[in-house]
Every structure is written in structure tokens, then in C-alpha cells.
């Protein structure tokens, strides 16, 4: 008789145990349920992890050294996002320009740097650029382009992300209503004045949230710089993990630590990213209410 008793317990619902569970769970807040799902996932992962014969003592010993690489990641990311923002601004102005040279250069820039793998670009900056410089420039100018791995890596990431962000910036600028341009023109503003005082400030609030997303993605991609062979002073968590893992034949353990370190880092920045997005959208919501 379990069937009929269930029916009695939830008289207004369709039959079945599933329905009774659903009804009971209505009382539990959604966030608590999500937390429970996460707890189960972590419990399963932890179980699998401890059963798999990893050298846990080794991992505990090496974690500090791998975590210490985080400052390199943050430094690389901050420099690269700054340079990428600058490149993207130029690129976006080029993409909306009526000048064939500016339009052509920016078109080549976005096409090439979005159309080739980032890791290939990094090796081109590291290995091919010096070759080009030596072929084209007299000494000592050629040696200016022979960069150490970390410089080639950061420049490479900045150019790559700058190309993606060019499209973000372009769409941000184009999203500013055309009436703003006309109003600026009507006031007799020059191109530079119009961009600096009218268009770009309004475009900025549109492009800042997606730029934050690019920054978080960039944090992870800086790990590729280690593949160029950065030396220990410039070793990020992935590079340190590879070096320590290979020294002790504990590659898998080292990679697991590195994964957790990057995950934690992006989780922190994602938190701030959500705050930022909430703040940015707040302004739009208020404007919309006023207008309505």
C-alpha cells in the first residue's frame, strides 16, 4: 500500500515518490540544494583521489612552492591586459575608421591574431621575431627584439587578447547611439574630442564587464608562457609544477596542485567580476526606470 499512502500525503499532486520528494524539497532553499550538489561532487572527487594512490605527502610538501608562482601569473596578466586594452582601443578605432590604412591594418591584426593558435603565436614571438629582426635590422637594433621567454610570452598574450578585445571594443563603440555622434558633431567637436569626451566614456561601461572576462581567461592562458622555457625567477604555477613534478617523477600530483591553484585564482577574480557586472548593470537599470 505505499502507493496509496503517498497519494494521501500529497493529495493535490500526481502519483509517485518523485512527486513527494519534489514537494518536500520545496521547503529547502535553492542555494542549499546547489551547495549539497557541490558537496557530493567534492566528496566523490576526494574519494576517487584518496583511492588512486597519489603521493599525498609529496603534494603537501610541494604546494607552497607551486602557490608561490601565483605572483608571476598575476604580474603577467596585469601587464598583458593593460597592453591588450591599449591595442584593442587602437584596433577598434581602426575597425570603425573610414581610413583604408587604419581599417586594413586593424583588419589584418584581428584576422591573424584571432585566426592562429595562441601557442603558435608565442613561439613566433620567441623564435621567429629575432630571426626577422636579425635579417632586417643592423646591429645593435636587432638585439632589441631578442626577448627572454617571459617578455615574448607576455607580448604574445597581449597581442592575442588585444585582437579578441578589438571586437569587444568595436561593438561597444558601435553600441553608443548614433545620436551622440551627431550631437558631438553639431557642437563642432573634432574626431578626437568626440571620441574622448562623448563616445569612449559611454562605450567604456559597455566593454568593462567583458574585458573582465577576458582577464580571467588570460590568467589561465599565461600558463602557456612556461612552455617557452621561462627560468625559475619567472616560473608560474604550471611551470613550477612541471619542474618539481619532473624532478621527483610526480608529474600527475604536480599537475593536480597546479589545476587547483589556477582554479582558486580564477574563482577569486570571478567573484570580483560578478560584483563589477552587478555594479555596471545597476546604472543601466536606474536609467531605464527613470526613462520609463
Amino acid at each position: 500500500m505505499p502507493d496509496s499512502s503517498t497519494r494521501e500525503a500529497v493529495p493535490h499532486q500526481r502519483h509517485g515518490l518523485a512527486q513527494s520528494i519534489e514537494a518536500a524539497s520545496l521547503a529547502i532553499p535553492f542555494r542549499v540544494k546547489v551547495a549539497a550538489v557541490w558537496a557530493v561532487i567534492f566528496a566523490l572527487l576526494a574519494f576517487a583521489f584518496f583511492r588512486s594512490g597519489f603521493d599525498i605527502q609529496w603534494m603537501i610538501d610541494k604546494t607552497p612552492a607551486i602557490v608561490r608562482g601565483v605572483w608571476v601569473t598575476i604580474l603577467f596578466s596585469v601587464i598583458a591586459i593593460t597592453a591588450a586594452t591599449f591595442l584593442a582601443l587602437l584596433g577598434a578605432l581602426g575597425r570603425i575608421s573610414k581610413n583604408p590604412i587604419a581599417y586594413g591594418i586593424s583588419g589584418f591584426y584581428t584576422s591573424f591574431f584571432r585566426g592562429t593558435p595562441l601557442i603558435v603565436q608565442l613561439f613566433l614571438w620567441y623564435l621567429a621575431l629575432p630571426q626577422l629582426a636579425i635579417g632586417l635590422l643592423p646591429e645593435p637594433y636587432a638585439s632589441w627584439f631578442i626577448w627572454p621567454a617571459q617578455v615574448a610570452g607576455v607580448v604574445g598574450i597581449a597581442f592575442n587578447y588585444g585582437a579578441y578585445m578589438t571586437e569587444i571594443f568595436r561593438s561597444g563603440i558601435e553600441a553608443v547611439p548614433h545620436g551622440q555622434t551627431e550631437a558631438a558633431d553639431a557642437l563642432g567637436m573634432s574626431y578626437g574630442q568626440r571620441m574622448r569626451r562623448v563616445i569612449l566614456p559611454q562605450a567604456a561601461r559597455i566593454v568593462i564587464p567583458p574585458t573582465g572576462n577576458e582577464f580571467i581567461a588570460m590568467i589561465k592562458d599565461t600558463a602557456l608562457i612556461g612552455l617557452l622555457g621561462t627560468t625559475i625567477l619567472w616560473a608560474d604555477p604550471f611551470r613550477v609544477a612541471q619542474l618539481t613534478g619532473k624532478a621527483d617523477f610526480r608529474n600527475l600530483e604536480a599537475l593536480i596542485i597546479a589545476a587547483i591553484v589556477y582554479w582558486g585564482l580564477t574563482a577569486i577574480f570571478s567573484f570580483f567580476q560578478r560584483k563589477l557586472e552587478a555594479r555596471m548593470s545597476k546604472g543601466y537599470v536606474r536609467t531605464a526606470v527613470k526613462a520609463g
Binding site: 603521493d55 610541494k62 612552492a65 601587464i79 597592453a83 591599449f86 591595442l87 587602437l90 578605432l93 581602426g94 575608421s97 573610414k98 581610413n99 590604412i101 587604419a102 591594418i105 623564435l127 629575432p130 630571426q131 636579425i134 646591429e139 638585439s143 632589441w144 627584439f145 631578442i146 626577448w147 627572454p148 621567454a149 617571459q150 617578455v151 607576455v154 607580448v155 558633431d185 563642432g188 567637436m189 573634432s190 574626431y191 578626437g192 612552455l227 617557452l228 622555457g229 621561462t230 627560468t231 625559475i232 625567477l233 619567472w234 613550477v240 612541471q242 619542474l243 618539481t244 613534478g245 619532473k246 624532478a247 621527483d248 617523477f249 608529474n251 600527475l252
Partner: protein, 318 residues
């Protein structure tokens, strides 16, 4: 209005050109400043030199010119190492420095030149490909003298000889090298062990017997330790690598074992880049003189005993 829009593109070009040139300047400035800061090399070379006497100013050093003169003048020998290769070269996270046989040998060479070492750590295939663009001066990286590499690199006389061997998982059925026929064998890509398996290994002055069956399925990796990882995971049945590396892995708890005797001895040498912007002949001569000296006074044997537990500095003929 009309004139405004006409003027704008020219203004933009000027702005673009200005910005582009400032990007260039920023990039270059960044380049030079960070390269100097990466010269914070471990200053352990003096400590590694406890066995040797004073630097070689007294002995008959060849006339210093080209790259050698530049090294002596700067007081720094820039050495590339692939720190994925214990006990030749690996990262000691406790001290934050590189350690191993190659590291000690390079430090000793630098000490005898009267300079200090500065480490560069590019990927192995970047080192063997030559065209170093003057990023570092020499490779002290247990590099085998192959014909292909000799086209882009100049080698010194060998400073030691590594036995290459075959390893399998401890519980494998494979008991002899003949049983590798038809099996998957892991090996580092574009290295002597792959050439050996391909039967294309050629080193002037040395003859090799290709003992591993011809029909093995070769699986290549970025470096030997990755191949070892895959051997443990069972994706390959065996691997070929340096016996010292395999023994180090066993010592550090990897459940693998060597199969049969070493398959060949590879002569390993210091290398310099033929395409360096300065002539390298006097540097090679100086390196040869120092290596001969280190063979003769027992320094290399001593370091070999320290890192490998055996003296592998004598050639196949000796």
C-alpha cells in the same frame, strides 16, 4: 562639418603611428629591463668548485676572441639546461636552484674560465635546433653528438657517456629486448633514443648495433619523464631512455625495471651555436681544453660518482 570629417582620418593616422611607436618602445624597454633581472642566477658556482684549483689563467689558454672574449669580458657564461631530466638537471625546490651532474659540470667549466654561470631553461628541442639568437652561449645538457645537430651546432669532445636502456613496468611480462617486437615503445621526440629506434642514429666515430626489434610502434613525447608517466599508465609497453634517469625513477619509487643490458652508449658533449653572432672557434677550443683537463684530473669521474654512483666518463674504447 564637412571639413571635420575630412580631417579626421589624417589625425587618426598620426595618432595610430604615435601609439604604434610607443608600443614598440614599451615592448623594447620591457625586453631589456626584464632580461637583466633574469640574470639573478644562482651564485653557487664557487661552492661547486671546491675540488678545483684557481681558474686557468696560468695554463696555456688559447687567444681569446669572438664569443669567448665576450664571455670573459662579461664575466658570465650563459648556459642552457633542460631541467626535466634528473639526475642530470632538475629543479631543487628546497633551495630554489638547479641541481645535477650537468649543472655541476657547467659550474666547474665556468669556474675554470674565471666566470660565473647564468642559466637559461628553453625547451630541449629549442636547444637542439640551433639558432639560439645569442640568448645563451653554451649547452651543457648531456647532448648527443648527432650528424643532424652537428650541422647547426659545434660540439666539444665528449665529457661523458650515458648508457641507454629499455624499461618496462615492474609487473610486465617482457623479460628480454627481443620481446619488444610489435609492442608500443615510448621515447622522447627528436632525441637520440628515437633515432636509435628508427635505426637512423649516426654519430661520427661510433658504430651502433640496433638491438631493439624493427617493428616496435614508436610513441614520442616532449621529454623522457612524460614517456615514463605514460608507461606507468599503460599507454606504452616499454620505454627507451638514459639508464641513469630510469634508475633515478626507480630510486624515487616508480615501479619499473630495466630489461637486459644497456642497448648503447651515447657520447655526450658541450655544444655551441654555429650561427652565433660572434665567432665560436676559440670558445670551442677553450671548452675542449677544460674538458680534457677535467677528464685528466679526475673531476668528471668524481662528479659522475656523485650523481650516477658509477664512473661513466670513460668512452666505449677505454
Amino acid at each position: 562639418m564637412r571639413t571635420t570629417t575630412r580631417r579626421t582620418p589624417r589625425g587618426l593616422i598620426a595618432l595610430g603611428a604615435l601609439a604604434a611607436s610607443s608600443v614598440l618602445l614599451v615592448a623594447c624597454g620591457g625586453g631589456s629591463s626584464t632580461s637583466t633581472s633574469s640574470s639573478a642566477a644562482p651564485a653557487e658556482s664557487s661552492a661547486a668548485a671546491e675540488t678545483s684549483a684557481a681558474p686557468a689563467e696560468s695554463s696555456a689558454a688559447p687567444a681569446a676572441d669572438g664569443l669567448l672574449a665576450q664571455i670573459l669580458e662579461s664575466g658570465t657564461l650563459r648556459v642552457s639546461t633542460d631541467p626535466a631530466y634528473p639526475p642530470q638537471s632538475s629543479y631543487d625546490e628546497a633551495t630554489g636552484e638547479w641541481q645535477g651532474f650537468d649543472i655541476d659540470v657547467a659550474n666547474e667549466i665556468a669556474t675554470r674560465m674565471g666566470v660565473v654561470t647564468q642559466w637559461e631553461t628553453p625547451a630541449w628541442d629549442v636547444i637542439t635546433a640551433g639558432n639560439w639568437n645569442d640568448r645563451w652561449d653554451v649547452s651543457v645538457g648531456s647532448m648527443s653528438i648527432t650528424e643532424e645537430r652537428a650541422q647547426v651546432l659545434d660540439f666539444t669532445e665528449p665529457y661523458y657517456f650515458t648508457p641507454a636502456g629499455v624499461a618496462v613496468n615492474a609487473d610486465s611480462d617482457i623479460q628480454s629486448i627481443d620481446q619488444l617486437a610489435g609492442k608500443r615503445v615510448g621515447v622522447c621526440g627528436a632525441c637520440t633514443y628515437e633515432y636509435y629506434l628508427n635505426r637512423t642514429l649516426a654519430i661520427p666515430g661510433f658504430n651502433f648495433e640496433f638491438l631493439v626489434p624493427e617493428d616496435v610502434e614508436i610513441v614520442t613525447y616532449d621529454t623522457d619523464t612524460t614517456a615514463l608517466q605514460d608507461l606507468k599508465l599503460g599507454r606504452v609497453d616499454a620505454m627507451v631512455s638514459a639508464v641513469p634517469l630510469l634508475e633515478e625513477a626507480i630510486k624515487k619509487g616508480k615501479e619499473i625495471r630495466l630489461v637486459g643490458d644497456p642497448v648503447f652508449l651515447e657520447p655526450l658533449a658541450v655544444a655551441v651555436d654555429k650561427s652565433a653572432s660572434q665567432p665560436v672557434d676559440s670558445l670551442v677550443a677553450e671548452l675542449n681544453r677544460i674538458i680534457a683537463e677535467m677528464h685528466a684530473d679526475g673531476t668528471l669521474s668524481e662528479l659522475s660518482m656523485k650523481w650516477y654512483g658509477v664512473d661513466i666518463t670513460k668512452g666505449p674504447g677505454a
